[in-house]
Structures are given as C-alpha cells and as structure tokens.
Amino acid sequence: MLTFTIRRLLLAIPTLLFISLVIFLLLELAPGDPLADMPMTIPPDVKEKIRLSLGLGRPMHVRYGLWLYNLFVTEPLHWWDAAFHTTYSEGMQRIISFQTRAPVFDTIAERIPQTLLVVGMGYLVGTLISLPIGIISAYRQYSWFDQFGTFVSMVGFSVPTFVTGVFLIIVFSVLMPTDSMFWLPSIYDTTHQVTDWASFVKQFKQMAMPVFVLALYQAAQVSRYMRASMLDNLSQDYVRTARAKGLSERVVLLKHVLRNSLIPVVTVIALGVPSVFTGAIITENVFKVNGLGQQLLLSIQGNDAPMVLTISFIFAILIVLFNLIADVLYGILDPRIRYD
C-alpha cells in the first residue's frame, strides 16, 4: 500500500501539470473578455490598451509558462520571505488577478476562513447526520422513519439550493420580526469576529441558514448512498452467519455490515471534500458569504484567467489527493482490494 501511495503521488505531478494545461487552454479558448463588465463608455482603443497592460498581448505559451514559473518559483519564494523576513522574491511579480490587480493568493487566503467555516461546517453536519439516517433507513427499510427520510432527502436534493436559501431568508429574515430571537440575518458579515458569548451567538445565527441549506443537500445525497449500500450488504450471507454465531445486532450492524457498506460512501465523501474548498457557489451567493465559491464565480464571469486557473489548480490538487485517499481507504475497509 505504501509503494502504491508513493507511486500515485509521483504520478500526480505530471497529471496535475497536464490538468493545469488543459484548464489554461480551456480558459483561452472559451469565449469571454476580462473587460466585459467595464462600462461601454470606455472606448474600444482604451480597452485594447488595458488588455495589453494585463499582459494579454503576449503569446499563449509565454503566458502559461509565466504562470507556471510564478506558481512554482515566485510564490514559494514570496511565502519563504514572508515567513523568514528574507528578500529573495524582491522585484518579482506574483500571480496578479485581472480584476483586483492583487496577488491571487492573497485573495484566496482572505477567502479561505469563511469558506472553511461555513461550507466546511455544512458539509460536516450534513455528513454526520446522513450516516445514522442512512443506516437506520436501511435497517428499518420501509418504516415510517425510512419513508420520511426518503421524502425529505429527495425534496432536499431536487429543490435547488437557490430556492431553499431564498425560502429560508423569507421565513427567518423577512417574515420573522426583527426583535425575535429566531430572527436570522440574511447577509453574512465577513468582518465579524468572535470575541465573547454575544458575538459567538451572532456568528452562530449568521451561519445557521447557509449551514442548514448545505447540510440538507449534502445529507440528502450521502444518506441515499449509505442506505442503498447497507441494504445490499444486509442481505448477504455473512450477515446471516454473524447472526447465527449469536453476535448482537449492534455488532452485526455496526461492525460487519457498516464496514462493508462504506466503500461508496467513502467515494462520495472524498469527492465532496475538495468541493468544500472551492466553496458552494450558489449558497455563498444567496447568503453573501463571499468565500472562495463566490470569488470563483466572479472570476469566471469576469474572465479573470489567473484567478480561475489558480483556484482550479488548487482544486485539482485536492481532487487528486482525496481520490488517492479514497483509494487507500478502500484497501483498509476491504483488505482484499489490492492495487499492486
């Protein structure tokens, strides 16, 4: 397993380089213009000059090479400098966003806390509640609990988050009287800092709706896979054997069946974790959480190639990494799975 992991990690480097090239080409070829959202009152010749100042006059391969150089040389040097107060990166231009004219990594660093907090929390809560729901739904198949869970998760998944989000805002921010203790803010305050109990309550309140929306969506998805996989395993011979041996239901269920049912669930969770980092575009927008998802959307709409490329590349790293973790976990969950 160790050699497998090392081999896959080494293989990840060319894979990621290739992915970055494909993303770059995709952004190049896709229609769009970083100056599309500028007012029409700016004449075309001025726009052309701006385009040149953004470095768009240089040929494609030069721009890609520069981005790679910046990513692997300038940025690490800069971080080194920032950490140890050295000056190796002086005079070197970092990866600059077209939209903000600021280093993209600064913006990303600014965005990560709220994204991890809100989206991560939603993901965590959703996953944690989905597992027991899935297990109980399968164990008591077609009970009222299962039926109710199925109904809620299907509605939760089929109604898009932009509808559930707005619906919650209408109920808890608009219709709820402002002085009620159940009133929740419709706009997330990213400058808010938790210092005492009152500010913690405020943070809790402003996170409540986005976390709920995300958790519902996530739980709907994972609990379906959990349930299906448990059902598959509950009818297997080894379960009968275990029961015949006189093992308690608890042990049968949680030790034998659950372990064998986790493979698809692990896959789904591993696929979901990287998306926590790119944020939840729609939910972030509905509640103005302004995390990485909102930034990515703005950058894509604004055709801000350096920002989109960098965020997508980080996302690609996480995808490759977590899919590798999933593969390793398969081997642990089911030792018969071998890659070598």
Binding site: G32, S158, V159, R224
Partner: protein, 303 residues
C-alpha cells in the same frame, strides 16, 4: 436501465425478467412511483390537449394574477398562463432530465466498470476522471456552445440541435461521480469469492461484467440515477442562464423556478408549483429505482 429491462422483456418472454417484473409488482413504493411518474409524463404529454392555452401567449392585462378558473395556477409577470407553462415545461424538462441522466449514467458506469475491472485501464481512466472533475464547468460549457451551437442548430434545427447540445453538455460534465462510485464497488466485488470462482472456470470478461459485476453495483447506480435527474434539471436551468439553453421564452421547470424566485414574496405559488413538480418527478424515480433494485436482487426475489 429501465429501457434495457423493457426491451429484453419484450424480446424474450418468460425469461428471468418476468420474475423481476413479478417482484417489482409486489413493491408498493415502486408501483406508486410508477403511477406518479406515468401521471407526470402523461400529464405533460396529453395535458396541452385538454388545456390548450399557448404557454408563450402574453396577455399584458392579466399580469401576476392569483389562481382562478381561467388560470388555475395564476399568471406570470407578462400574463402568461402558469398551468400551460408548467405543462409545456414538463415535457422538455423530463426529456432533458432523463436523457442526460441516462447518458451520464452510461458513461459513468462504463468508465467505472472498465477502470475497476481492468487494472491496466484504471490509471488512465481515473486520471481522466480527475481531469473532468477539476475542469471549471462554466467556461467548459461556454466553449461547448461556441463550438457546437451553430453546427448542431444547422443540422438538427433550433430545438433539436439545442436539445442534443444540452443533453450532451450535462452528460459529459456529470458522469464522474457515478464512475468513481461504480469503480469503488467493482474493486471490492472482483475480489469476492463468487467472482474468483466464476473466473476460475474461465468466464470471459464480458460475461463476467454483465452477469456478475453489473447486477451487484445496481444499487449505487440507481441512487446515482435518481440524483442525476434532479441534477440534470437544475443544470439545464443554469445553462439557460448562460444562453446555452433553449430560447429564453421557452419554459422549462428550472427556468420557471428561476423566473419565479424574485416574486417568491408576492406569489409564492410561482416557485412552489415547479418545485413540487420537480420533487414529485425525482421522488417517483427514486421509488421506481428502489423497486427495480430489489427486483433485480435474486436474494430478495421470491421472499
């Protein structure tokens, strides 16, 4: 998968598919699901014959009306009849949702099974999956429109061409989850005793996959199918935002949801009806999937 089942049933009567059908019939949830699904499909297909109001007709004097006899679901901001729009939207939504889901499922299952079963293909196919997962969706879709919209519209007509484009766009960008999930299950399955046993008697790979592997990964595939329909419908509405979708006056459930959203405070029914229709569709597919999965499982069958 449903098509597959029916085809075989018609071609070879009195084979194991009859057993499947018998088992399926005893599944109450599946039957109810079938009925609801049939009602939705027939409703959207035949509905316009009974409710022959033009969904695109604007009556500016009948704007934003509540439910009434003339307009059972009210009217929208341009005075278009909502019932007619929900019915007309349903046809295209269901068609897009089902076809795109089938395409992504077939692609995902194919990649998943090949990668899981043949070790040589695993590396390359999974790296391809990683690549597709990492691609930013919006630019990819925009690029597809730019490259394919005009040729497709020219060769298949505006509606046919755009239908193909949308189904293709959704299918090509949403197969990766199914692929990873199926592969994970196949990896575990192919080390099971019955597979080893079957292989030891020299069963060829093709039959191994069709006979032993596929039936055993049915349940995650069914879940993917259910979730896939909802996903496809929502993606379609996002596409129409990008200008990739059907012409803007063409109602689909996703677009009705989008259009109704600003009015949620004034007339919540404009959001509620399409959302309800969508949920009912997804729920019915879910129950059909449930029943089908049970019916296909020989261990449950006959119990």
């Amino acid at each position: 998968m449903t098509d597959h089942t029916i085809d075989l049933k018609a071609a070879k009567p009195r084979n194991q598919w009859w057993d499947v059908w018998d088992q399926f019939r005893t599944h109450r949830g599946a039957l109810i699901g079938m009925v609801i699904f049939a009602v939705i499909v027939l409703g959207t297909l035949l509905g316009p014959f009974f409710w022959d109001v033009d969904p695109k007709f604007i009556n500016i004097r009948a704007r934003e009306l509540g439910p009434s006899l003339a307009h059972p679901l009210g009217t929208d901001q341009l005075g278009r009849d909502m019932l007619a729009r929900v019915l007309a939207g349903g046809r295209i939504t269901i068609a897009v949702g089902m076809t795109a889901m089938l395409l992504s499922l077939v692609l995902g299952t194919l990649v998943g099974v090949l990668a899981g079963y043949f070790r040589r293909l695993d590396g390359i196919l999974m790296r391809l999956t990683d690549l597709f997962l990492a691609l930013p969706l919006l630019p990819l879709l925009l690029l597809m429109v730019m490259l394919f919209r005009e040729p497709l519209v020219l060769s298949f007509g505006p509606e046919g061409g755009i239908f193909i484009l949308i189904v293709f766009a959704i299918g090509v960008t949403s197969w990766m989850h199914a692929a990873r999930i199926v592969r994970g299950d196949v990896l575990a399955l192919k080390e099971r005793e019955f597979v080893l046993a079957s292989r030891s008697i020299g069963t060829p790979a093709r039959r191994m996959i069709l006979r032993h592997i596929l039936p055993n990964v049915m349940s995650p595939i069914m879940v993917s199918a259910t979730l896939g329909v909802a996903n496809a419908v929502i993606t379609e509405s996002a596409l129409s935002f990008l200008g990739l979708g059907f012409p803007p006056d063409f109602p689909t459930w996703g677009r009705l949801l989008n259009d109704g959203l600003p009015y949620i405070n004034l007339s919540p029914e404009r959001v509620i009806w399409p959302a309800l229709a969508l949920s009912a569709l997804v729920l019915s597919i879910n129950y059909i999937g449930d029943g089908l999965r049970d019916a296909l499982d020989p261990r449950i069958r006959g119990r």
